[in-house]
């Protein structure tokens, strides 16, 4: 059977894309810089994953001067990886040809899908600086790396290789690509470079990333996971997720194969039993015995309609990949100082007949954002940060639809919640439905939004424990400070009036500290009770709403309230209030 091959195929469209670069991420100078970096980094990550290599990527961005276009800077972007590298003959296709991709239609959760990304970057470089991509590549098979320049032959959708030379490169394999482009560097904000780099860091715990942007210092982020995520094998398409056209196109890969065999091997969830049912629905055995290539449009349609009427098992969820709660938990600490956080990995599930896996990480940051600002929402589709057009996105809709007040966050009506939080929402699926070609918004189907909501609610429940704890802790700390403020005044006054000496003063202050310790202890007990109470309440709610509360506990659940608060570790056995009779 013709499994989608890893060979790089091409189709002619260079002219179209070069005229419509705005559709693929080059609609402004700031987006041009971001897109160039993003396409290169995504490719590096995909390539490393495919080759089972732990990725180490470095990104440098320099401003060389004024750009050729009005308001643009002359920017050099260089992305270097330790991936498998590209053969010289592939370099020219990858960087110089559109729709040349090894990932096309493979039903895998790879970042790249179409074979447009990096060629568009080459085109942009060529259009603005009359020079394509400068590429260094080495595979383990090559004795020496080669360095070359790739340009797009826009008329013919062909890559042109220039100035090829061998090059001494100190690594077993990898790709380095260098673009000179007109661009503007925007660091901050949702569409900023930092948001992208932080996002990539967050969802790729196995990535070591180095970057140097303009005059800033180098930033080095070490990997916190030492295994390359196993990209699950793709599953065959599920007939219920296809349109007739796709169904027919899919048949072309199968040529003279018998229809019954095509249906059974080319699709998931079609078995002999299903074929039997199909016959009961009027599809003749003779039709199923014919060669796929001999079917007419009408016959394809007849079979297609027949299958749509059958009840098929939902597609397998084996093809989706999860970042994992542990990975997210560790990774989120790499993007800044975190106060506390909660992560939630849902089990793979089916939405709109496609396998999806939703994960959520929420962190309260120590030095990012403020109580009055909206939380920073990071959206990911197949581990690629989505940075634009958030309004219509399924993930944004889901976040807005959750009542965050229930979990202790402020939230204006119909809006994102407020506070110094990062909220990362990731959707992984071999078939992500984007709203438009620039892949910035995920289509908000009811089923997907509902699945996202569940993940967010569960993460919110986990988070609220921390928030309640934090509020209580702050409260406790305030109380303690309050007493500590007055304690010496009280003791000193009493000492002066009763003419008590220094020794007694010290002892009294010590005793006071003990009393404070007890008070803290008591408050701590109260706190634990409050948390237990609210957990029980949440569980009850879950029974009513069908939303299950979080199953696992984050390992960092143990906040050291006890240690922090008990000044002396003395426990109060019984808090019996003494009551004395009046004289």
């Amino acid at each position: 059977m013709a499994k989608a091959s890893a060979a790089i195929t091409s189709s002619s469209s260079a002219e179209y894309f070069s005229k419509n670069l705005q559709q693929v991420g080059f609609s402004s100078y700031t987006k041009a810089a971001l897109t160039t970096i993003k396409e290169a980094v995504d490719n590096s990550l995909d390539a490393c994953e495919d080759a089972d290599i732990l990725p180490e990527i470095s990104v440098t961005v320099q401003r060389l001067g004024e750009g050729s276009g009005k308001g643009a800077d002359h920017i050099r972007v260089c992305v270097e990886d330790n991936g498998p590298g590209l053969l010289p003959e592939d370099v020219v296709k990858v960087f110089g040809e559109y729709l040349a991709s090894s990932k096309f239609g493979r039903g895998r959760c790879s970042r790249g899908q179409q074979g447009i990304g990096i060629s568009a970057a080459t085109t942009w470089a060529q259009l603005t600086h009359a020079r394509g991509a400068l590429v260094i590549t080495k595979t383990t098979k090559m004795r020496q790396a080669i360095k070359c320049q790739v340009e797009v032959d826009i008329k013919n959708n062909r890559g042109i290789l220039k100035e090829k030379e061998s090059y001494d490169w100190d690594r077993p394999s990898g790709v380095s690509c260098d673009f000179l482009i007109d661009a503007r560097i925007q660091m901050q904000g949702e569409g900023g470079l930092l948001a992208y780099l932080n996002g990539v860091t967050l969802v790729n715990p196995h990535l070591t990333l180095h970057y140097k942007i303009l005059d800033e210092d180098w930033v080095h982020i070490e990997r916190i996971e030492n295994t390359v995520p196993k990209i699950p094998e793709p599953t065959e398409p599920h007939p219920h997720t296809m349109k007739l056209g796709e169904f027919i196109a899919h048949s072309h890969l199968f040529g003279k194969t018998r229809v019954s065999a095509w249906l059974k091997t080319g699709f998931s969830r079609i078995s002999d039993g299903i074929l039997k049912e199909l016959k009961e629905h009027g599809v003749k055995s003779s039709l199923l015995e014919r060669a796929v290539s001999s079917l007419s449009q009408e016959e394809f349609k007849f079979i297609f309609m027949g299958i749509q009427k059958l009840k098929l098992m939902a597609p397998s969820t084996k093809s989706v990949l999860s970042i994992g709660e542990a990975g997210l938990a560790k990774s989120i600490q790499r993007i800044g100082a975190v106060d506390f956080f909660a992560v939630m990995s849902r089990k793979p599930t089916i939405c709109d007949f496609k396998p999806v896996l939703v994960e959520v990480a929420i962190a309260r940051m120590k030095d990012k954002g403020s109580e009055e600002e909206s939380i920073a929402l990071l959206r990911f589709a197949n581990r690629v940060p989505l940075q634009f057009d958030k309004a219509g996105c399924a993930m944004t809709k889901a976040v807005v639809s959750v009542n965050w007040k229930a979990y202790g966050l402020a939230q204006p009506k119909n809006s994102l919640p407020l506070g110094p939080y990062i909220m990362a929402v990731s959707v992984v699926s071999p078939f992500i439905k984007f709203k438009n070609a620039s892949k910035e918004t995920v289509d908000a189907s009811d089923e997907l939004v509902e699945e996202l909501r569940r993940a967010l609610i569960q993460a919110g429940q986990r988070l609220s424990k921390h928030i309640r704890r934090e509020v209580k802790e702050a409260d406790l700390e305030k109380k303690r400070q309050h007493i500590e403020l007055f304690a010496p005044i009280l003791v000193d006054g009493a000492c002066r009036i009763s003419k008590a000496g220094k020794g007694r003063r010290e002892k009294a202050l010590e005793g006071l500290a003990k009393i404070l310790g007890r008070e803290a202890h008591l408050a701590e007990k109260e706190l634990t009770e409050a948390i237990e109470h609210s957990e029980a309440a949440l569980e009850k709610l879950a029974q009513v709403t069908g939303v299950l509360p979080a199953v696992q506990e984050e390992p960092e659940e143990q906040v050291e309230v006890g240690e922090q608060m008990s000044l002396d570790g003395i426990e109060e056995k019984k808090s019996k209030k003494e009551k004395r009779k009046g004289k």
Binding site: I483, F486, A494, I497, K499, A500, L509, G511, G582
Partner: protein
């Protein structure tokens, strides 16, 4: 009245105990007499409200630590005053405390926002030690109590031991103003005094004097000027104790006058349970205006405006008093509680000045009515 309480000794004891508790890691507790109606006892034989045995215990914790610290701080200031013999008003104590805090930044957390806060601490110390504010050398403003008499002679022993003799008959129309230190005064009558009349309105008292009331009668006349101050209360008590003459109170017929003014004068108040003994005159009688006077003298009265906040509050308080105030509940004061009931039922009030309407052409008419009422024992 001798110095009843050794504030210094009590203070040292209190601080000793506080330190001892702290040293043992035990929460110190300050105990004070509960000064509220639910801890007020009334025994008609005693004649004034006395404290029950309810105590307010202030245990050291987050919410009380500030009050405790303030208490010790103010106590220290007061002890300094007592030692040096300085006297101050509450307001002055407030400013002394503020000054002390200003010059000692570590005391900043104790700072008082306004005088109410420091007053509260002074009262708390009194309730704790069961002493008078005067025992703390802290004196209230002397308000009200302007006294007129043709017969009364007051002998005052001043703080330095000097004595002064005031013959009220020599003061013309100027009043004698009693100080809030009844213990330093001695009273004598140059001639037998028939009674003492306390008029709610200081203005009306003055009118009576100018029309010759004190010339024609052997009386003591004093103006209460609203709710009687400590000076008025202590002074009235002194008159009762030293002269043993009938004392009558003449004021408005309304719930406020009856409860807040007359009851306080006669039996003290719940807030001042500790001091009622020396600051109430149980023998005072309520001369009027009585409900029956309205008909008898055809006095102009008017309806209580129930939508008026103060008046409706007074009515509500009257209702509460009938239910909870041991003074009004006592059989011996049935006459007074009947007036309260009458007020609640009829929702009318009548002012003391209405006596001037009985015969507008006769300026002596109010005096005549008062004397008439006394003669006919027309009082409660």
């Amino acid at each position: 009245m001798p110095a009843r309480i050794n504030v210094e000794k009590l203070s040292v004891e209190m601080c000793e105990k506080l330190l001892r508790d702290l040293e043992r890691g035990k929460r110190p507790v300050l105990e004070a007499t509960k000064c509220s109606l639910d801890n007020s006892l009334y025994n008609p034989k005693v004649g004034y409200l006395t404290p029950g045995d309810k105590k307010v215990q202030t245990e050291l914790n987050v919410s009380s630590v500030k009050k405790m610290s303030r208490t010790i701080f103010v106590l220290e200031l007061i002890l300094r005053n007592i030692e040096s013999g300085a006297n101050n008003t509450k307001r002055e104590v407030y400013y002394i405390a503020k000054g002390e805090i200003k010059h000692n930044p570590t005391l900043k957390p104790l700072d008082f926002e306004d005088q109410n806060e420091s007053d509260e601490i002074i009262d708390f110390i009194c309730e704790m030690m069961e002493c008078y504010r005067e025992d703390l050398n802290c004196f209230a403003n002397d308000r009200g109590g302007q006294t007129y008499s043709g017969q009364l002679i007051v002998e005052e022993t001043m703080p330095d031991g000097d004595k002064a003799v005031i013959d009220l008959s020599k003061l013309g129309t100027a009043p004698f103003q009693p100080k809030n230190r009844p213990q330093s005064l001695k009273l004598k009558a140059r001639k037998k005094i028939d009674f003492c009349l306390i008029v709610e309105s200081e203005g009306t008292a003055n009118t009576l004097v100018s029309s010759g009331f004190t010339k024609r009668n052997n009386v003591i006349l004093l103006g209460a000027q609203g709710v009687p101050s400590n000076a008025v209360r202590g002074w009235t008590k002194l008159i009762q104790e030293e002269l043993a003459i009938p004392i009558y109170f003449f004021g408005d017929l309304d719930a406020y006058t009856l409860q807040n003014i007359f009851r306080t004068l006669k039996a003290g108040s719940a807030a001042s349970l500790i001091r009622n003994q020396d600051f109430s005159a149980p023998d005072v009688k309520f001369l009027g205006v009585l409900p029956e006077d309205i008909k008898k003298y055809d006095l102009p009265d008017y309806a209580v405006k129930e939508n008026d906040a103060t008046e409706s509050r007074a009515l509500k308080k009257a209702r509460d008093a009938l239910e909870n105030d041991p003074f009004f509940q006592d059989k011996k004061n049935k006459g007074l509680s009947d007036i309260l009931k009458w007020l609640l039922k009829n929702k009318r009030r009548c002012e003391q000045q209405s006596f001037f309407s009985v015969n507008p052409r006769d300026p002596l008419m109010p005096e005549k009515i008062i004397l008439d009422k006394i003669k006919n024992k027309n009082f409660v």
